[in-house]
C-alpha cells in the first residue's frame, strides 16, 4: 500500500464515475456514477492525509464536509427527479433535449 497505488485506485474510481456519467441513460444511474467520483476524491484526501507530511486531521475533516455536501446535492437531485418522474414518467437522459440550439 503506497501513495501511488492509492492514487491510482482513486483515479480508477474517478474514471469509472466519468464513464458512468457519460454513458448511463437513467438519471439515477448518472447520479450514482457521480457518487463514485466523489468517493474517489475522498480516497485522494485520505491518502494524502496519511502519507503527506501536512496537517493530517484537516485532510480527514474535508471528506466529512464532502460527504455532507454530497448528501445535499443528492437531495436536490432526487427532489428534482421525483418531480420530473411525476411530470414525464421517464428518467431517460436522452429525452432531456427539448432545450437546445
Amino acid at each position: 500500500m503506497t501513495l501511488h497505488r492509492l492514487l491510482l485506485l482513486s483515479a480508477v474510481n474517478f474514471c469509472l464515475g466519468m464513464y458512468g456519467m457519460v454513458v448511463r441513460r437513467n438519471v439515477i444511474c448518472v447520479l450514482m456514477a457521480m457518487e463514485l467520483m466523489f468517493n474517489a476524491v475522498i480516497i485522494n484526501f485520505i491518502a494524502f492525509a496519511h502519507y503527506g507530511n501536512g496537517h493530517a486531521t484537516e485532510g480527514s475533516i474535508f471528506p466529512i464536509f464532502i460527504i455532507a455536501v454530497t448528501a445535499c446535492e443528492m437531495a436536490a437531485a432526487l427532489a428534482i427527479i421525483l418531480t420530473m418522474y411525476r411530470k414525464m414518467h421517464k428518467l431517460d437522459v436522452h429525452r432531456l433535449d427539448s432545450l437546445n440550439g
Binding site: F14, G17, M21, V27, V30, L31, M34, M37, F38, A40, V41, N44, F45, A47, F48, A49, G52, N53, G54, H55, E58, G59, I61, F62, F65, I66, V69, C72, E73, A76, A77, A79, I80, I81, T83, M84, K87, M88, V93, L96, S98, L99, N100, G101
Partner: protein, 475 residues
Amino acid sequence: MLTFVTPDMLLPILALLVLSIDLFIESKNKTAILFDTAAAGVLLIIVLLFNLPHDQEFYYLTNYKVDGLRLLFKEIFAISLFFTILLGKGYARKNGNWRGILKYDSEFIALLIFCAFGMFCVVSAQELITLFIGLELATIPMYFLTAYYKKDQSSLEGAMKYIIMGSLTSALVLLGYSFWYGAVGCLRYEAILSFVQTNPDNPMFLAGAIFVFAAVCFKLAMVPFHMWAPDVYQAAPTPVTAFLSVASKSTAIAFVITLLYGPLAPIRHVFTYPLGILACITMTVGNLGAMRQYELRRFMAYSSIAQAGYIMLALVGNGKMAVPSIIYYLFIYLATNFCLFFIISVIGQKRPEEFASLRGLAKQSPALAGILVLCLFSLAGIPPLAGFTGKFMLFASAAEGGFYGLVIFAALNSTVSLYYYLLLIKEAYINKPEEDLESLEITFTQSFSIAILTLAVVILGLIPWFSSIITKIVG
C-alpha cells in the same frame, strides 16, 4: 468588531424571518408583504455594507476575511439580490407572467438569500473548506430555483442538466483541492501562499489549479464549459436567470480574483494568459451563438457568455488596473442586465418571453423601448453609456500587458455583438406585431426599479467619482 460580519450574519436571519412570516401571518396580500420585507431587509444589508470602512482588513476567527475588495463584491451580490427579489415580486402575482405564477414565495426568497450568503462566504473564505462550502451554498439553491416552475417540463429538464453538470464540476474542483492538499499539506490560504512562494512550479499544485479553474470556468460559462448556460437560463424563471447571469457570474469572478490576488499571487502570470485566450474564445462563441436566437432568456445567456469573456480579458494584462476595472464593470453589468430583465418581465406578462413579443413595443410604450435601446447600446459599449466606460477600462487593463492583438479582437467582437443587439432594437421598433396587443401593465415596483437602473446605466459612465473610488479601494 463584529460589525464587519453583521451583514453576513443578517442574511440567514433574514431568510428565517421571511420563512416565519410566511408561517405566522395570515393576510390577503401575503406575497407582497413577504417580498417587501425581504427587499427592505436586503436594503438594510446593502446600507450596512456601504457604511463599513473599506480601507481596513478584518479577520473573523482567522478564516473569514473582510476588506475593501470583499466588501465591493458583497455589495454587488447584495444589490443583485435586492433587484432579484423585486423582479421576483412581479412573477409571484397573478397574471404576472406568461409561464405561470411563482408559488412558494417565502421559500423562493429564502433560497435566494441563502444563495447570496453562500456567495458572501466564497469571497470571505480564507481556507478551502469554507470556500468549497460557500461555493456549494451558492450553487445548490440555484438547482432548486431553476426547477421552480414544477409544472413546466423544460424547467425541470434545465434543472436536471444543471445539477448533473454542476456535480461533475464539484467533483473536479474537489479533485483540484485534493491535489492542492497533497502538495501543500494544509488548507489555509496563508499556507498555500507560502508554499507557492517557495515552490512556484510544483506540478501537483498546478494540476490542482487546472481542475479548480475548470470549475470556475463552468460557473462563469467559459468555453468549453459553457454549454449548460443557454439551457439553464432558458429553463429557469426569469428572476433566477437574472440572478444567475449577474450574481452567479460575479461569484465565479470573485473566486478567481480572491485566489489569483491571494494565495496564488506568486504564480498569477501562469494563469492570466490562458484565461485571457479562453476569454477571447468565449466571447466569440457567445457572440456567434447569440446571433440566431429567438428566445430572450436564451439570448441573454449567450450575451452574458460573451460579457464574461470581456470581463475575463481584463485579467490578461496582469496589471494593477485589472481588479478595479473588473469590479467597476460588474457594477455596470449588474445595472444593465437587471434593467433588461425588468423590461423582459414587463413584456412577458401576457406573451412568451421571445423576440417576437417585443414587436410593437415602440408604439405601446416608447419610454420602455427607449430604455431597451439604452441598455442594449450600453451592453454593446456605445459611449457615453456606462457599458462603454467599463469596457474601456477592461480593455485598457488587458493592454497593460501589451496584448493589443487581443484588445482589437475583443473590440471587433463587440462590433459583432452590436449586430445582434440591433436585431432586438429592430424587433421593438420596426417589425409589426401580428395581432393587436393587449396593453402592458407596469407595476410600481417594476417602474421604480427600471427608473433606478436606467439612471445607473446612464450615470455610471458619466460620473467621475465612482471608478476612482473603486480604484482607490482596490488598487
